[in-house]
Symmetry: C2
Subunit: 198 residues, 2 copies
């Protein structure tokens, strides 16, 4: 998961590494003491950098847990546009999210820990929902293009937001349950809850 920085160069590699390290340390500290009881200064000290630099890598403290929203959002969008245009929209969305969950390079334990912290702190939940809003802006136009009839914009928004809610619910359940079920399984089940007849 490289960042937004220009791809080439050793500098970009170092940057990503530092970024990942800060995130890792922060999540561990949050997990142990709680999000509100850890200051940016403490995170910086634990990593070995100045507080100023932490804020250079992450505009907000919450982002150390959330990560890079735009990156994965664009990933989902790319998956969606690649689906055949005659596929039912819900199937296409489900497949796109599944592809995201199946992306390699995602640390299972770390991801679950981050998700658990995310669910425990209101401020973090809010920031996470903001990320979903950003995703929605990326996905809605694509969905709207596949719909027919009137009010496509409104309907597309409803479908996208509902699917994102399913995605969020599945991940939350996955983080809280003790690995007895895969995230993909939970995702399919939550999607199924909205289509009793189809």
């Amino acid at each position: 998961m490289s960042e937004v920085t220009k791809p080439g160069g050793t500098r970009a590699i170092a940057r990503d590494a530092v970024r990942a390290r800060i995130s890792e340390v922060a999540v561990d500290l949050f997990d142990e003491h709680g999000f509100d009881n850890v200051t940016v200064e403490q995170i910086a000290a634990a990593v070995g950098v100045s507080p100023r630099s932490v804020h250079r890598y992450f505009p907000a403290k919450e982002d150390t847990v959330i990560g890079d929203p735009a990156g994965w959002g664009e990933h989902v969008r790319d998956q969606l546009v690649a689906r055949p245009s005659d596929e039912p929209i819900w199937d296409a969305l489900l497949a796109s999210y599944e592809a995201l969950l199946a992306t390699p390079g995602r640390n299972e334990a770390q991801g679950r820990k981050a998700m658990r912290i995310l669910g425990s702190t209101p401020a973090l939940r809010a920031r996470n929902l903001e990320k979903h809003l950003l995703w929605a802006h990326l996905l809605t136009p694509i969905v709207a293009e596949r719909l027919e009839g009137d009010h496509r914009g409104l309907r597309a928004e409803a479908i996208v937001q509902a699917s994102l809610a399913c995605f969020d619910i599945a991940l939350t359940a996955w983080a809280e349950a003790d690995a007895v079920e895969s995230s993909v399984e939970l995702l399919r089940r939550s999607f199924g809850a909205l289509q009793p007849t189809a």
Copy 2:
């Protein structure tokens, strides 16, 4: 819309009035200058109280726009439990939200202004979605009770969150469009987007 304070007494009335006044002034200022360009100090000065008092009425600056989340959430919940138990769940949810929109005492112009500000600032949208999360906690158990089969908890969550997304989308669209369509109409349409077959 009285608050959480004990019902009786002139003091509670005064308290609600001050609270409403602060909210009104804040929304006007945000509307004119933008949410981020207005400080709590300015709001306090405009109302004629100290900044400390503003924070006494509203724990966070965002809450001056959002209002009291729990109050209306419980209202929706009460509506939902009052629906006949054999009614399809989506119909029951739709009716409950409609009842909320039809509640008297809601200032149309002020509500629309607040909604528009809410849509223009990411931090506010996120905080508003947090409110919906609180509502979801109230509604999910009731919905779960009406479902049958396995995984009722997860399915109930998906349904509730999806319906809340529809509610939010309808209100946002209502605030941005220029009154050409009623909020109830938009709500029904967004609900319809999720049930192409039913």
